[in-house]
Symmetry: C2
């Protein structure tokens, strides 16, 4: 248990940021490219300058709709045991989203991602226990015409029982994906009861712009009652002032803008305060999500979310590394730990490298281990008189030993994270075992999982129902990558033993 | 600025840990192997059972001496500009200590460390700006007879202007090292005014044992007024209960034991609450300082140190990795970030791999970059009305740009960490530049530094004075590793340009 979160701002400073954001909304306003949104904002008290499509938000309007923000958000999985609600179940670990590229697991080279990659990614994700939410991780270069989003969501939904979250480009694509959801759930009613897909839309483009399609999506999905939220993305130096407080105040105004429009659309609609703030590397203008400033800003946004009593999400652990090396290791760890200890409820951190351009199977597997460690921190010191074990300390006495007590035996598997990637052998044994680095060990685990059947796939009935509806749909099967042999048939479904053997 | 630290315990729970530790000291006591210590403890109210050398500490004795703990600790460097006082100057970053082995920078293979390695390590350390304190990092396999400690401290002191901290085996060795200190400082008086060496002794062996030599050292150095402190080292499952609260309560009792003896020796003597807690990997019994539990316990000890109003230090970022890979990256980052955000003032984290058995030059260089990021978090969001930059946000307006403003130009080099190891190039440029991973980039930097003269070395006078005193002393020179060529002479001392070129 975390008794108290780390904060970088005093409560008074948080209040001042809130006031600054209100001032931005009231005096600068937002460029709103969507006419329906402009009308809706005007109807509820905003001032629209229709010559330039700038909408100003009076502070009483923002404050009025803020009162309706709900304090929780639930993600539904195909299997309800994987449903997760934040903040209580946090920190949740989510994969990264929508990378155009992938590191091919056979060649080790970068290439465009495809729908069979998506199936394997979802399969691997489903088997990694510390990962909670599948954010549809790559684009699919092999999508048939008209199936741009279906080629992404179908392999994803087919291969994981855990909640799925993702983007679509516009309302038409959203409708196809939701229809797919109905077929997976069995009926529209069943889907509406437990929506298996959480939508995400980058409604706000920094600085201070509500874009057309994503704002249309926000309104459509909210009207329909489907769950979703937007992320704000200020990039200091390019789309925001080159300080940390500038993007914080501006980004907070951007959050308040979309959240206000959402509450105008449906009062009490659920939301997540989600942020992907960065500071550009001003030597080259490079996008630098791996920078520690991303984590510092995430800490600030988490504190603001707490001020508004809404669940928070941060895009952290987003390395600029091109390979799974020490840079990937430290960039994947510093900002997630900082943001979690500041109270982020949901971390979008798993699987991507190269400034969120590229998915890597070994990275996802290592991120799962990092996620296990993060969650161990959240469990904390487990304070209790029993855990202080004064009796045992007394019994062992000075210079005593603890290894052979029943107390120790009982806790051997539960006290500490027992990593599968992080190597703890002496150097000699490590050398005799092939001198594998973390990436090589991760690849062994990837291969172990991806050469086995996926227990999560749809039943043949469900699959037939879906394929009948969408002609020419990609296969969505998580077949082993070319050249990787499945294990002997006798072992294929022997899941219990497999876990012990490892 | 960190406005509020993360905590894993409520204030009431901290108080209960304190009470549990007092109970351990009063009812279980410590095995005290040093007779002088037993006498001193008895003289001040402890109860000694001389048959078994167990000493029990009544709580009023512990509480009485606790009132004398000073709230700050200062490390002195050869150059006073590098003096550092905690907590105000924290978080300080210290190197790891006393590794027997090193990864040879030429062959890449592990071997025993030598005094010429120590010289190069200190030289490299001196040039890495985010590293504050040099904990004498390796043992020296080439030490001449009678020069065991001199062979370590002389190359260290010779090659860095920053504070040096280290262990010695006993009082005789301490006296030699202090004599070296007098010669470096110019006189005993000058040394006593600004002691260039901070001593460290593992006085307490877990569980609950005050050892002979290190306790003798604690008393001798404290009597003489030389700065130093002990670290407590509970290892859950082996030398402490297999929970996190057990080692916390027991370790806290061990801290109170040495701190009490220190205050009995000299009231008001400075101290640091330093801890190296671990949980054994119970699959093999392996020592697992890379485990996240090390960071969680560090958070608990930092909170206890704050309760006692004393500066704290944590051994964190101690990877079990055998190579500088993604495992090294995440183990080097998770626990340091956790402990810093919990208020640790000093992090012993730089340069070692393989469960603190082995020094690696590239790891030290990468740790410097991690340290820069940690310190950026401590700077925080830099709240001010000016930094919120509402004027600038207003001026740019919705959909505006920030890149070409004077405000941005002024902050290009100061807002964010500009990493030298972490690669931010697009993949194509990275590939054209040789596809270097973080370790390869770090090795370039190591080579760049170690093939240049070290501006920190002693003057010839000081060196002559020292070498006249200690016959047969190792060279202590940081010559480039065999095969590494120094740069052209004209560039050697051109430090200003070098920095621009990088």
């Amino acid at each position: 248990m975390i008794a108290q979160f780390a904060t970088l701002l005093t409560q008074e400073q948080v209040e001042q940021v809130h006031q600054a954001s209100l001032e931005i909304l009231e005096n600068v306003g937002l460029l709103v490219r969507n006419e329906k949104a402009r009308k809706r904002l005007a109807q509820h008290g905003c001032q629209v300058d229709s010559k330039v499509d700038i909408v100003k938000f009076p502070r009483q309007v923002v404050e009025h709709f803020r009162a309706a923000y709900p304090p929780t958000f639930t993600f539904h999985g195909r299997d309800p045991q994987y449903d997760r609600t934040i903040p209580d179940d946090g920190p949740l670990i989510m994969t990264g989203s929508s990378a155009p590229n992938i590191i091919d697991p056979i060649t080790g080279h970068e290439r465009r991602a495809r729908s069979d990659d998506m199936a394997r990614i979802a399969h691997l994700f489903n088997e990694l226990p510390a990962l909670d939410i599948f954010s549809v991780s790559v684009l699919c270069d092999d999508a048939p015409a008209g199936h741009y989003s279906l080629s992404r969501y179908y392999p994803a939904l087919k291969n994981t029982l855990k909640p799925v979250r993702g983007n679509v480009s516009d309302v038409d694509e959203a409708k196809k994906v939701i229809k797919l959801g109905y077929l997976v759930a069995g009926s529209e009613a069943a889907y509406r009861e437990r929506p298996l897909i959480t939508h995400h839309y980058c409604a706000v483009v920094s600085p201070l712009t509500l874009d057309f399609d994503s704002t249309e999506l926000l309104m459509f999905l909210t009207e329909e009652g489907f769950p979703g939220y937007a992320s704000i993305v200020p990039n200091a130096g390019l789309t925001s002032p080159l300080t940390l407080m500038g993007p914080l105040a501006q980004g907070n105004a951007e959050f308040l803008a979309w959240a206000t429009l959402k509450q105008m659309t449906r009062s009490g609609a659920t939301l997540v305060y989600s942020a992907l703030p960065t500071v550009a590397d001003m030597r080259t203008g490079a996008y630098a999500p791996g920078g520690i400033e991303n984590g510092i800003l995430a800490m600030g946004f988490a504190q603001l979310a707490r001020y508004y009593n809404v669940p928070s999400a941060s895009y952290v652990g987003l390395t600029n590394a091109k390979v799974v090396d020490a840079q990937a290791g430290f960039e994947k760890s510093l900002s997630p730990m900082a943001s979690m200890l500041a109270g982020s409820d949901l971390l979008n951190m798993a699987g991507l490298i190269d400034a969120i351009m590229t998915f890597d199977f070994t990275m996802l597997t290592i991120d799962n281990e990092i996620a296990e460690m993060m969650k161990r921190v959240k469990r904390g010191l487990e304070f209790s008189q029993e855990n202080m074990a004064l009796d045992l300390i007394t019994e062992a006495g000075p210079a005593g030993m603890f290894i052979d007590t029943p107390h120790t035996l009982e806790r051997m598997k539960s006290c500490a994270v027992l990593p599968e990637i992080a190597d703890r052998n002496p150097r000699r044994i490590w050398a005799e075992s092939g001198k594998l680095d973390a990436q090589a060990k991760a690849m062994q685990r990837v291969r172990d999982i991806l050469t086995r059947d996926n227990p999560a796939v749809f039943s043949p009935d469900v699959d037939a129902r879906i394929r009948a509806e969408f002609e020419g749909l990609v296969s969505g099967n998580s077949t082993p990558p070319p050249g990787w042999t499945p294990p002997e048939p006798t072992r294929t479904r022997d899941r219990k033993n497999r876990r012990i053997r490892r």
